[in-house]
Structure formats: structure tokens, C-alpha cells
Symmetry: C2
Subunit: 253 residues, 2 copies
């Protein structure tokens, strides 16, 4: 079983969209997947048609002594389950900070479900605080979505430094699964320039590029992944391609 954290402190780059649609594409291909939402906004639940604001949730598993397997919800997608987030996470950094082994809480919680899923994806919020550190400490791999925008390039170096620091101090087995370019609009010179820049500097960049597509914005309002909402769209195809590349990288070791 592999745990993949989907992280980037820059906001709105497509972390949740990638977590939800990659999870759905892997499940469609026969993989048993668990999606864990550690972002207080809890967008993953609504994007998958799961109820929002339910208990127990990830907050109860991290701080309330509830077993993580008791927080698992089924989704509208076969072979894809979800551990929902909680608004209470917004204040959880301070609670977590006071605990021993505060960075290891999620890794310990996930220990209980290791046998039930082949891949666990963790959707992180736009932060490099203690909750994202928990995700990076629990993970075997990190997937970084990067929007094809100039400002999104700026934070990438700081993020890669943080991942290296986590590998040195908290999780020696953490690897970089790769960087995926998102919201690519080939009609704009800006997106082409940013994609070129990524190809020049990032050696783990995925071949698959996720196009800017209104289908990805519409799918959450229909409470389903784009693979169900618009199965023949370029966006759905792109996430299926990404799933193939992810599996190839995970299987090649």
C-alpha cells in the first residue's frame, strides 16, 4: 500500500480537483483507494457527493481518540472511500502542537487501515503548517499540482525545501512522486512559458498536463468527479492519463 500526499501551500492550484479526480480514475481502473481530506475547507466531500459536516471525521481521528476506520464514508464511486474533513481543523494546529509526537498523529491513525486500500491519497490545505506536516510525515510519496501561472512558480522552491526538510527530520522514506501542471490554457503565452519553465527545472514533471476546462469547475456542483460528470471530456481523459503515469511510477519503484 502507498500513501500519497497532494500538497502545495499556494492556494487554488488544483490540489482538491487532482485528489478527487485522480482517486476516481484510479478506482475506475480497479485500484482500491481511500481519500483522506485534511483541509479544513472540506471541499473533497462535496466534490464526491459525500455529506459535509459529519462526525466522526479526521479531527476526531487526530485529536479525539477515534479509530480512523470508524471515520470512513462510502462515496458515489465504487472502490473509492473518503475520510471527511472538519471545520474544527482550522484551530487544530494549536491543539496538535501541545501533543507528544505531534507530527506523527496522522501516520499513527493511518496504521489501522494499511491492509484495506492499495493507495491512500491525502488532500492537503494551502499551508505548510502542522497538519500538512502530518500528511508529509505519514506519506510515502508527494504529488505537487502547480497551476500554469507565474505566482504559482514562486512558492515551488520553498515547498521542495520543506519536503527535503521533512525527509531529513521526520520521514526518511518520503519520495517525490512528481509535479503535475494544471489549468493549462494553451492559447495563452503565459501558460506556455510557465510549462516550459517547469520542464526546464523540474525533472519529476509528469508528461500529462491537466488542461483548463470548465468541466472541472462544474463537476463539484453536480457532486461527482469529472470522470462521471463528463466522462469523454479532455479533463476526464487527462486524469485517466495521470492515473496511468502515477501507477507506472509507483510500480517502477
Amino acid at each position: 500500500m502507498t500513501i500519497v500526499a497532494i500538497a502545495n501551500q499556494k492556494g487554488g492550484v488544483g490540489k482538491t480537483t487532482t485528489a478527487v479526480n485522480l482517486a476516481a480514475a484510479l478506482a475506475e481502473r480497479g485500484v482500491r483507494v481511500l481519500l483522506v481530506d485534511v483541509d479544513a475547507q472540506g471541499n473533497a466531500a462535496s466534490a464526491l457527493g459525500a455529506p459535509r459536516g459529519v462526525r466522526p471525521n479526521i479531527f476526531d481521528a487526530l485529536l479525539g481518540g477515534v479509530a480512523l476506520e470508524d471515520c470512513i464514508l462510502a462515496t458515489g464511486t465504487e472502490r473509492l472511500d473518503l475520510v471527511p474533513s472538519s471545520l474544527d481543523l482550522a484551530g487544530a494546529e494549536l491543539d496538535l502542537a501541545a501533543l507528544p509526537e505531534r507530527e506523527q498523529r496522522l501516520a499513527a491513525a493511518l496504521g489501522g487501515v494499511r491492509g484495506r486500500y492499495e493507495i491512500i491519497l491525502i488532500d492537503c490545505g494551502p499551508s505548510l503548517g502542522l497538519i500538512t506536516l502530518n500528511a508529509l510525515t505519514a506519506a510515502d510519496q508527494v504529488l505537487i499540482p502547480v497551476q500554469c501561472e507565474y505566482l504559482a512558480l514562486e512558492g515551488l522552491a520553498a515547498l521542495i525545501d520543506t519536503i527535503a526538510r521533512v525527509r531529513r527530520q521526520l520521514n526518511p522514506s518520503l519520495c517525490m512522486l512528481g509535479v503535475v501542471a494544471t489549468m493549462y490554457d494553451g492559447r495563452t503565452r503565459l501558460a506556455r512559458d510557465v510549462a516550459d519553465e517547469l520542464r526546464r527545472h523540474i525533472n519529476t514533471l509528469f508528461e500529462t498536463i491537466i488542461p483548463r476546462s470548465v468541466r472541472l469547475g462544474e463537476a463539484p456542483s453536480h457532486q461527482m468527479a469529472v470522470l462521471q460528470y463528463a466522462p469523454n471530456s479532455r479533463a476526464a481523459e487527462a486524469y485517466r492519463e495521470l492515473a496511468e503515469e502515477v501507477l507506472a511510477r509507483l510500480n517502477s519503484g
Copy 2:
């Protein structure tokens, strides 16, 4: 003098873009403006052509005992100054939490510059943690950018609740300046539906809608506000209109 916090915990909705271009539009109109960046990513500096990573910065003013006026940088725009952010802010929540009156640190720091500027804008990061609470406690008004996307609507109720809580517990004079719709692409039904939804439910919605425009993505790579980079663009016009509406609301009390 008025302090306006630009906040929304949803990532990538146009907080920095609005902070930078509204500040530039107000300065163009003759208003003396200070932009304070409290987001660890520090995107405001590069979007305005100010150097990144300088000291002293907002971290030194909040936690290092440095006077805020000693952290002020000039920008490429006349009548617009900047207090730059710091990567160290990413870990500052835990340091701040241990201090007395931890939510009032920014309000106290801004006390020293009250007479020098007519408007102070605070660019917040994608969070509702202690640093954003500092901004909401220091502010007289809150401006909320909302992307015309379904997922961006979800967090709005939680944000408005948080603002009401801050008004009750920390800052009785905090008012809602308004909500501004951003990244509006009129060709998509999604954006039209979201804008309709905002008009129906948000009575402080600005008339001005910021269109989706690649000029706004390009301007930061040229280290200037869109008002200088593409002064006759729809995007520049929209931020000038927003500045007029903001001034009208501030002056009508």
C-alpha cells in the same frame, strides 16, 4: 485613516491580485496607501516589483520588536508603500499563540503609522488561523474576493461566521466593506450561475465584477500592477472601478 483586510480562506481566489491592483488604483487616484502582506508566500512583493526576502519585515514587526515603520519599502508606484512578508510567518502561529494579547499584535504594530496613510490594505493568506485573526482584529473593514467557481461559494458562509465572531469577541468596530466577484468568465454558464447566486445571497456584493483576464496573470511576471502593465485593459479598468466603489462606500460611512 481606514484599515481594510482582504481575506478569504479559500485559496487562489484573487486576494493578492485584488490587494495589489486595488492599492495601485487607489494610489493612482491620489490616495496614500500602505499594503501590508501577512501571507507567508509573500506574493505581494514580487507583484509590485519590491525585493523578496528582505529584513526587517512583518515577522520582525509582529514578533521581533521592530517598529512597523522601519519595515516599510517604496514600490514602483507613487503613493504606494509596502510592508513585505516573510517565509518565517509559516511557523509564526505557534510563536504568536504563546504571547499575551496574541490577536492584537498587528493592531498594535499598525498604531505607529496611523497618520502617514489614508488607507492600509492587508493581504491575508488562505487561512483563518491566528495571523488572519490578527488582520481582522486590526482592520476597520473586510473585503472578500470570491472566485466565480462553485467550490469558492462553499467556504463563504464559514468566513462570514468567523468575521461575526471576531466582531463579537475581538474587534467590535469591524465592518463588512463588501464581497467582490473575481475571475468572471461570462462565456461559461458556471460563472454566470455563481454570480447570480452571489447577487441573490450577498447584499454587500460590489457592482464591479473583475473579469478573468490573462493580463492579471502576466502583470506579476513583469513586477508591476496591471494598471502599469496594461493600463487600457478591461482588468485595469475593473480595478479602477472597484477603487471608486470602495471610496464611495468608505466615504458614505
